[in-house]
């Protein structure tokens, strides 16, 4: 059984950053991802990122993986072992991981594990939501931006958070009509610069609106919308019908914590952070001392914060193995970056959620 010093599950922004951080400290890292290429959701983020230079602001998401991978190849000194097309099926309480690649299973026993599995999309219940033509926004983005396939011709976007706004913009760029973006809340949840961008392209954003049902014979032919009052109740008589062949759901994300549950990590339900999240210390260490977490698996946030959390998790996983050079100074830098990203009004929800998170593992 292979015993890598650190195994990282998930090669998205958090996992790649964790790998780089740990390798820089001198640790040996196996980075495992189920997809054929590393980058996670970055591989379809064709828009420029926000944040500061340290989190690749003004760089397109699609260009970030190669920057991190180039650094990993250069600084890895043979200590970086990427494993693609490889799914982690199990994370047991004795620290063993079960890997599956092309129908072959392999057990490994890393000394430290960093879970950076990202998020899953939430679903919305409404009649007809099982019709072909109802997509998650992530699937639409993958079809368009990874495989170059249009999901349909006329789209109704549900959700005006950043994902709903960005995917609407990318649909327009792909030449697909977006008839409207609807949002149950009375206010747009995503960054307003994204909203102004789609609005000046002619897409109406209807706040306090929801979908009542999708209709169609063999696939989506349209949707019935209605207004919501301030108590989120449907306002009678406000129904309107839109002829669309795609209904795209962008109604939020939830941390992908299955492996953490299986390993036996303590978790807490915090809606502000996306649902059940693992308890963890400021070192991103969970209630199990060999298990760290980073990115959307820890709490739903922007990719910029995920990258910084990755750096912290990688730093302390390595430090626990004895690669302890310069840890305090680096941690101070990373922690300050995270604090800055979360300090404004856009970070209020995250701050509230984190303040309610019970302390994670006590680290000696």
């Amino acid at each position: 059984m292979k015993k890598p010093e650190i195994a990282i599950v998930g090669g998205g922004p958090a996992g790649l950053s964790a790998a780089l951080s740990a390798v820089r400290q001198g640790a040996q890292v196996m980075l495992i991802d189920r997809d054929p290429v590393l980058g996670g959701q970055l591989v379809k983020q064709t828009h420029m990122f926000f944040g500061s230079k340290k989190q690749y602001a003004a760089i397109r998401g699609i260009d970030i993986p190669q920057k991190l991978l180039a650094a990993l190849q250069e600084e890895g000194n043979g200590k970086f072992d990427p494993r693609v097309n490889t799914t982690v099926l199990g994370c047991y309480d004795d620290g063993v991981l079960l890997l599956e690649k092309e129908d072959r299973a392999e057990l490994i026993q890393p000394r430290k594990i960093i879970i950076a599995t990202g998020a899953a999309e939430k679903m919305l219940p409404f009649p007809g939501n099982d019709l072909p033509g109802v997509y998650g926004a992530g699937a639409v983005q993958t079809l368009m931006n990874v495989y170059g396939i249009k999901p349909g011709t006329r789209v109704l976007m549900i959700g005006a958070g950043n994902i709903g706004l960005i995917v609407s913009y990318q649909l327009l760029q792909a030449g697909v009509e977006v008839t409207a973006i609807i949002e149950g809340a009375p206010k747009i949840g995503g960054y307003l610069v994204h909203a102004t961008k789609v609005r000046r392209a002619g897409i109406p954003i209807l706040t306090s609106h929801t979908i009542k049902k999708a209709y169609g014979c063999d696939s989506v032919e349209g949707a019935v919308l209605c207004n919501l009052d301030e108590k989120w109740c449907a306002v009678p008589g406000t129904e309107q019908s839109l002829a669309v062949d795609v209904i795209c759901l962008a109604v939020g994300l939830t941390p992908q914590t299955e492996l953490l549950w299986q390993a036996g990590c303590e978790q807490q339900y915090l809606p502000e952070l996306g649902g059940y999240v693992p308890l963890r210390s400021e070192k991103m260490q969970t209630s199990l001392s060999h298990l760290f977490v980073a990115g959307d698996a820890a709490c739903i946030e922007e990719a910029g914060s995920a990258m910084v959390e990755g750096k912290i998790a990688g730093l302390f996983a390595a430090a626990d193995l004895g690669y302890a050079e310069n840890v305090e100074a680096l941690n101070e830098t990373f922690s300050r970056e995270l604090e800055e990203l979360r300090s404004g009004p856009a970070g209020a929800k995250i701050r509230q959620g984190l303040s309610r998170l019970k302390g994670g593992a006590q680290v000696c």
Binding site: F50, G202, G344
Partner: protein, 164 residues
């Protein structure tokens, strides 16, 4: 209301509009960024240091229109595509708007297009003067459009008359 509709209101636009005196001096950047989010590339894009240093990454950008020379380096560096350059001195009747445009196919110089406002409505005719798409712009081309001067603070997009 911006938070409900995605359209900035007249007061918000008024606050970020350069003074009439500054407009008379030639091209100048307008920063239509109204929400405090963690983002600061515009500050580093400006070689004139017209976009002031941020105390906090969540600060709204503050631009000194007197230091801005309207070079437009910031346009393609704004991840929100919220910066434009306007030139009220272009000609007697026409002003120039430089805007970020990330759609294909790109327009060609001399084409007549429909000028679109922040609500997505057609407000006037607009003529393409130039299309910048150098490598340094990193796939955010900048299109220069002439519009009637009274629409300089309105036109923020365009629809191709020949169909997009």
């Amino acid at each position: 209301m911006l938070e409900k509709t995605g359209v900035p209101d007249a007061d918000q636009i008024k606050k970020i509009t350069p003074s009439p005196g500054r407009l008379k001096k030639g091209p100048v950047a307008v920063v239509e960024c109204f929400q405090s989010i963690p983002c600061d590339p515009c500050r580093y894009a400006c070689r004139q240091e017209a976009i002031k240093e941020f105390k906090d990454i969540n600060d709204l950008p503050v631009i000194d229109h007197d230091l801005c020379n309207g070079c437009g380096s910031c346009i393609s560096k704004c991840p929100g595509l919220a910066i434009f350059v306007i030139d009220d001195t272009y000609s007697e009747k026409e002003g120039l708007v430089k805007l970020p445009y990330e759609y294909l196919p790109l327009p060609r110089p001399e084409e007549e297009e429909n000028g679109i406002d922040t609500e997505g409505w057609e407000v006037c005719s607009a003529r393409v003067v130039k299309v910048q798409n150098a490598k340094v712009l990193d796939r955010t081309p900048v299109v220069w459009l002439t519009v009637p001067r009274e629409h300089l603070m309105k036109v923020r997009n365009f629809l191709r008359k020949g169909g997009a």
